[in-house]
Amino acid sequence: MTPFVDVAFLILTFFILATKFKPEDAVEVKTPGSVSSIAVPEKDAFMVTVDKTARVFVSLDNAQFKQVLIENINTTRNLGLTPAEMKVFIDAPSVGVPFSQLKGLLQLDPEAMKKVVQPGVPCEDSTGGELNYWVRDALVAYSGRKLNLLIKADNDTKYPAFKNVLNAFKLNDQNKFLLITAPEDAPMGTPLFETRQKQISGEATK
């Protein structure tokens, strides 16, 4: 029994160390797989999440710049947010409401906010909707520093919803994105598979 318990605790230790809690998202999104192996940048990521019903959520993971972002949004969109409401915004994982509802959302306490079904940031039309302003003010907040633009969409998101998001970025002269995907291996016998095999054997012979 003792060896058994020992092994069990070894496994326990492994899982404790290997676990990395993922930040809570406002929506559940199942991302498609891709053969790409680029790691998702961990900081300075402006993420636009699109769920399967085409609701759009925005989030920024750097609290310092998030502060600047919400201050910008507050002045340019004339929202009249109090410093306390801005603090709630900084602590919130992601928001997906039109500007008209933002103040109301931020007045809720964090627990109640999780339960609210957010309608998504409007970005339907060719002007990029309100997402356009979010992107613009995020870029202003970063003022030339490197900002990673991430798009995370669901498998079942329709293409027009994705295109609207791209459009909002394009209006701000942003053309480089990272799409969040689940890792997959290159299928056997394809050119990419061959190239990767060569790379591996090349590294082995070095």
């Binding site: 029994m1 318990v5 069990a8 605790f9 496994i11 326990l12 899982f15 404790i16 290997a18 676990t19 990395k20 809690f21 993922k22 991302t31 498609p32 797989g33 891709s34 053969v35 790409s36 192996s37 680029i38 790691a39 998702v40 940048p41 699109v50 991430l150 798009i151 969409a153 669901d154 498998n155 079942d156 998101t157 329709k158 293409y159 027009p160 919803a161 994705f162 295109k163 791209l166 394009k170 002269d173 053309n175 480089k176 994105f177 990272l178 799409l179 969040i180 995907t181 689940a182 890792p183 997959e184 290159a186 299928p187 394809t190 050119p191 990419l192 598979f193 190239t195």
Partner: protein, 178 residues
């Protein structure tokens, strides 16, 4: 189940006369609750662990050009257009004539792309991806991924032309895809 008390053999051991029997306390502890808790934690961490970290896929889009003379021209021999339709269906045609539309799916399209790649001058080859409004995001990512898998250097993602969309709709109606 997990009784670990092995002490208890004291009675049978006789000391000499007049020697007081020192009561020997067992140093063994019942570990059952600890082990139970251990397993509970293992189960918890197994369920919460995300082993595969998400990866990111690069997507570079060209700037919109307004003037037609600034747009890149595609040679007819090198053009290969892929239209993403409903229900994970793919339609493709070679050259610039959309009426030569052929149906395929995500399993079959790789062969077609590779065949085109082999039979065409690589400098002329341009794959044009046109997701229709009925295509899903997964289809879009999959076809972009297919470009990486087949190592297509030049590809473009553009909106589907109305007449092509009409053709696709007719084909879909004929094939009974709702």
């Amino acid at each position: 189940m997990a009784s670990m008390d092995t002490g208890g053999g004291d009675e049978g051991h006789k000391k000499g006369p007049g020697v007081k029997k020192a009561k020997k306390l067992s140093t063994r502890v019942d570990m059952t609750p600890m082990v139970d808790l251990g397993f509970l934690l293992i189960t918890f961490f197994i369920f919460t662990t995300t082993m595969a970290q998400p990866t990111a896929m690069n997507l570079f889009l060209p700037k919109d050009v307004q003037k037609p003379e600034e747009q890149n021209k595609v040679k007819e021999s090198g053009a290969f257009t892929i239209i993403l339709g409903k229900e994970d269906q793919i339609y493709y045609y070679e050259g610039l004539d959309p009426t030569k539309l052929q149906a395929s799916n995500f399993k079959g399209i790789r062969e077609e792309i590779l065949r085109k790649k082999q039979t065409t001058n690589l400098e002329d080859l341009v794959v044009i991806l046109k997701p229709t409004p009925d295509a899903t995001y997964k289809n879009t990512v999959d076809i972009l991924d297919e470009m990486t898998i087949c190592e297509i250097k030049r590809y473009a993602m553009v909106d589907v032309a109305p007449q092509e969309y009409q053709l696709v709709k007719i084909t879909e109606a004929a094939a009974g895809i709702k």
